[in-house]
């Protein structure tokens, strides 16, 4: 009876199949004085599911087409030098692994987005432990899915936006994990366009020319535990829905037009547990609705939160606002957002009933920030006694700032 059971048969066959593939999968050594000294040629000779071990050395090759499932693994970080002639790896097959290569000199082009590694319409790929330098675009995923970009190091030397590319770019891709990468010195560190269900975690993106992370028209994505530091303009999340942003650090995005995070036309997102530290603007919000801001720390920013344009039904709860020049800047007299149970370092109220919640509401919008919104030149009066005085009087009896924009339950102690 058991032998005739179809499932049973299959389970028996499985190790057999694996065994045969292991037997038949061949390992190719590539090195200067090996039989095969070119990656490109070796790929063309290899069978699907074979492994290429690229030994230490320098390989001057470009436009390497990987069109069958292969593992291409570097031993001792061999250098693949594209000599600035064009794209270097192009993956068009599913089940490709690229591991441990040092790729340099991607050709810069004004008509083609040359990348160090381009993955086109492929599934189940793994790109890991790569080091990319002297690049134009780094890793470019195009209409691909269910892959993993893990632990790569991408170091660009971008100077101008027009002749530099992005570190990791995802275009019409989905179900991809981008983990533990380090991207620096590119145009946008990580760029997503029309890409859904992407997980971006534990990456470091710093010193990029424009954005550390850039979302466009991408929904249902999650990014957690990343660090974005000292990027030209911070992180931009635009025209996207259902994004979860958790436990990230946005630091030192400091400059006349820089912010930790820019939200533009974002709906139904969750922003929680993030740290915004020493940014000119912590979060710049334009036309974004139904967002939950919970448990974030805003420390030492110029503006912690700057709201431009219509933003409705957002909830700010349990955040710490510590030593920002302006906590909230607001450009309209209407307010539909809720501030509740946050800690404000400039709160001066008292707590008579000792329940940990201040008895007097806190008004986070300074008159000065309202004036600056209206006439930007007035910022030259920053930290003058006159502004302090009128801020104080506005706080006591609001005339210009929205009357209901207040935290009725300010915390007395920093939320730890």
């Amino acid at each position: 009876m058991p032998t005739s059971h179809p499932h049973y048969k299959f389970i028996l066959a499985l190790p057999l199949l694996l065994w045969t593939s292991l037997v038949w999968a061949k390992t190719w050594n590539v090195c200067d004085d090996c039989e095969h000294n070119s990656i490109k040629e070796t790929i063309s000779l290899a069978q699907p599911y074979d492994t290429l071990l690229v030994q230490k050395g320098t390989y001057r090759e470009f436009e390497i087409l990987v069109d069958k499932p292969l593992v291409i693994r570097g031993v001792g970080y061999p250098i693949v030098d594209g000599e600035k002639k064009g794209e270097i790896f192009r993956v068009t097959s599913d089940h490709v692994t690229l591991d441990g290569l040092f790729i340099i000199n991607v050709g810069v082009s004004y008509t083609k987005d040359n990348a160090a590694i381009r993955v086109v319409q492929s599934k189940n790929f793994l790109i890991q432990n790569m080091v990319l330098e002297q690049l134009f675009f780094g890793i470019y995923l195009e209409k691909s899915s269910h892959g993993k970009v893990y632990h790569n190091r991408i170091i660009g030397e971008a100077v101008d936006e027009y002749n530099s590319g992005n570190g990791i770019q995802l275009w019409y891709s989905s179900g991809i994990e981008v983990l533990k990468n380090h991207v620096q010195g590119t145009r946008d560190g990580i760029y997503l366009e029309f890409s859904d269900e992407i997980t971006i975690a534990e990456n470091v993106s710093m010193e990029n020319l424009r954005y550390g992370l850039h979302f466009m028209f991408s929904n249902n994505d999650v990014y957690t535990n990343n660090t974005f530091e000292n990027n030209g303009a911070g992180v931009a999340v635009m025209f996207s829905k259902f994004i979860t942003m958790r436990n990230n650090t946005f630091r030192k995005n400091w400059g006349t037009a820089a912010y930790g995070m820019l939200l533009k036309e974002i709906n139904d997102a969750e922003i929680s547990g993030n740290i915004f530290e020493e940014n000119t603007i912590g979060i710049n919000i334009e036309g974004s609705n139904r967002i939950k801001y919970n448990d974030n720390d805003f420390i030492g920013n110029g503006w912690a939160i700057r709201v431009i344009g219509a933003c409705y039904t957002n909830i700010f709860k349990g955040n710490n606002f510590l030593y920002n020049s302006f906590d909230i800047s607001y450009n309209s007299k209407l307010n539909d957002n809720v501030f509740e149970g946050n800690f404000w370092s400039s709160y001066t109220g008292y707590d008579l009933d000792k329940d940990g919640i201040g008895d007097v509401p806190y008004r986070p919008v300074k008159l000065f920030s309202y004036v600056v919104n209206r006439t930007p030149e007035t910022i030259v009066l920053l930290r003058s006694l006159f502004m302090d005085i009128i801020d104080f009087s506005e706080r006591v009896s609001p005339v210009f700032t929205p009357d209901n924009l207040k935290d009725a339950q300010p915390l007395m102690k920093v939320r730890s």
């Binding site: 030259v380 006694l385 502004m387």
Partner: protein
């Protein structure tokens, strides 16, 4: 003049008020550093205090000293000393001792907390230099006011009004004109308006040296372009110097004509 300076200076550094002033800065320095242990942040907080307090203290001290030492001044006037030397000597005595209180009061805690090894040392010295300038400017202005007003109460009143005008009202008028003329390009106007008031000028000079300047946005960029160059920096120092010298010329003129 040096002798008068010496005596006024000694007289002042032994007075209770100099100690209070010195101890105030000493306490301020220690408290700021103790609270956040970060030299560059302490410099920012200090700026707020300095911009407001130094002109006020300078003004009040100057007027007070002038009126308090009026009889002594008369004693000196009968001595074989040039008139202008007497007043300039007293002026430098007051401004010098106040500056010394400031520099020592703030300097000691900062040096103890490792300023010399921190790269905030330049910001900090700029803070002290502008502080010194503000002291000299406002002591000078208060001397001119005091010498022009025999009536103590009036003199005090005018001096405080002057402080109020430069520290508060000026900025109010400045803000109003910025708002009223918001449709016009205002960069040059705000640059000029800032330079003309020594308090605003000092504030912007310090702000631009601190990295807080990024908050100033586009306008700040223009300011930075101006003050960031050597020429701009020299111009602003020259203007502070001019603000220091003008009251002195006024003082000399008034002193030469006044009857005692």
């Amino acid at each position: 003049m040096l002798k008068i300076l010496k005596y006024s200076f000694y007289d002042l550094i032994r007075s209770r008020w100099s100690y209070v002033y010195f101890l105030f800065y000493l306490a301020l320095g220690f408290v700021l550093l103790f609270l956040n242990n970060d030299v560059s942040k302490a410099v920012i907080t200090l700026m707020n205090v300095i911009i407001v307090l130094i002109p006020l203290i300078g003004t009040i001290f100057g007027v007070m000293y002038y009126y308090n030492s009026r009889e002594f001044t008369e004693l000196l006037l009968a001595q074989p000393i040039k008139r202008s030397s007497i007043f300039l000597g007293q002026y430098f005595g007051v401004a010098g001792s106040l500056t010394l209180s400031l520099v020592l009061g703030l300097g000691i805690p900062f040096v103890l907390y490792g300023l010399l090894r921190s790269n905030a040392i330049f910001d900090f010295s700029l803070l002290l230099v502008t502080g010194a300038f503000l002291t000299f400017i406002f002591v000078g202005l208060s001397f001119v006011i005091a010498i022009s007003n025999e009536n103590k109460i009036k003199g005090f009143g005018y001096a405080v009004l002057l402080w109020l005008f430069l520290a508060v009202v000026y900025d109010g008028l400045f803000l109003m004109s910025l708002i009223v003329f918001e449709e016009y390009p205002l960069d040059t106007f705000s640059l000029v308006a800032t330079i003309l008031n020594p308090i605003d000028l000092s504030r912007i000079l310090i702000l631009l040296k601190l990295d807080i300047s990024a908050l100033l946005g586009y306008t700040g960029a223009i300011f930075k372009q101006f003050f960031g160059t050597n020429l701009g920096f020299l111009i602003s120092l020259a203007i502070l110097l001019l603000w220091t010298i003008l009251p002195l010329l006024g003082l000399r003129y008034k002193a030469g004509k006044k009857d005692f």
